[in-house]
Amino acid sequence: MPTDSRRIAGPESSTNPYSFCTEKPRHDLLKNGKRQDGRKENNLRPIFLKAGVVSQARGSAYIEQNETKVICAVYGPREVVRKEDFSMKGLLTCEFKFAIFSCRERRQHQQDIEEKDYSVQLLEALEPAVCLDKFPKAQMNIYVTVLQNDGSALAAAITCASVAMADSGIEMYDLVAGCAVRVAGKNLLMDPCNQEEYKPEDETGLTNSGSVTVGLMPSLQQVSAISSKGEIEFELVKQAVAKCVDVCTQLYPVLQQALVKSVSERQNEEG
């Protein structure tokens, strides 16, 4: 892994104190129909979503789902500086980054493989929703920073980035709502928090253990992103995807409300 020479990297080897404590295995994701934070299987965490939070960006949004906090800024359309072929379609770029301190373990300053993977997924989730032909040969840049990660970061990022794109005034076919689900045994836990999220190193002993994330364009009813981790039985994957689609549709008014608020706020400012 290359390191950034301009930064003080800190001691060459340091250990997170958490790695010394033996974590108790998390077999009890669900107790008497209730999850560790008191939610039911289907319950989401409360969502706070606000558009127009970064004044210098063309569009921006902030989402908070309890302890998961994501901020997104959109810049452009700007010139494509790299010499590339002429294209009648606009170009979207996407950078997904966990803030260094956002997770339990300290993150590196440079994008790691997971973040690059998320960047691509986020890009592919948004591409179908944006009218790319409205800005030929120019590019829009989307920057997503996870300020604090308490699970379902990709889903929150999808929602946040689509609202930020809409806030920038770029024409879009639809918004994209994101939703994650944790599959554990026969249970489907919506919007998992960090403790509930699937981690391949955990030995849960369950035959079905994994997570599914879906991005949906609610008005057009089109799935724009889908990804899963872990080994899951086929029927359960199908159920999980269907459930995510349902929940995304339910999230739609929240996204719209955030946009309406930012539009009317701007109107009030002007006049």
Partner: protein
Amino acid sequence: MVDVLLSDAEKTFIIHGIQDNLRDDGRGCEDYRHMEIETDVVSSTSGSAKVRLANTEILVGVKAELGEPSSGKPDKGRLEFFVDCSANATPEFEGRGGEDLALEISNMLTRAYDCPKCLDLGKLCVIKGQQCWVLYVDILLLECGGNLFDAASVAVKAALYNTCIPTVTVSQDEGHVDIELSDDPFDVQHLDVTSAPCIVTLSKIGHSHVVDASQKEEACCLARLMMGVTEKGTVTALKKEGSGSLDPSSVEEMMETGKRVGQALNKSLMEVLCLEEQKGKKKEKTGFLR
């Protein structure tokens, strides 16, 4: 992806054909192209395989080395994927040209193999928390003729099947640990890959979907669904790729097809691999000569 130039008329021809379950090379929508597998092709590796799927050619070499286990899984070996897009395949890959594609393939493979039941990595542990076998799976794209993900996953599975890990003995005295490698070249361990996944890519073209899209078909396709499917039919990874979007109902249909095709693919792959092992040294080697 490596693009071919296709006119609108050619695209329409392909799309209309697929709607009638007829593809431009005469296959049905759920048929794979002819696939050739050969294992043990590179003698300097611990295991290797070469897969040729029509004109897609992929060579995989596995090298087993001793290293430190990751902190999250102290009692497990490690599996590292690396994809090299050779400029032999297309000049576009020269320099850093193939980097994005390479990363995408290796991420998908990592994700598909990243579940405890796919491959028993516990067997690869030598000393808990200190030493384990690290399997470096290097994938070399020699020719790109569409459907790289599926071909790569088949080649990886075949190469892992072929992998021989030398037996080591650990002796401990006075807090000093010795690792001794067996002298006998036939004293080796094999990996059990029966429940390892294969990736099945379903390309949405027009209103239908196809498996194993050729390069021309990939040019007509806006959205793909990739699935890691095991022999039992469980899904180990799922990913939508491409700039298009999918209907929830077609996602379901595509997943059904993916499961069906994936199970069949796994089954026939294992049969072929067993057959090849039985032949042992007697088998006819084709290598890179065709």
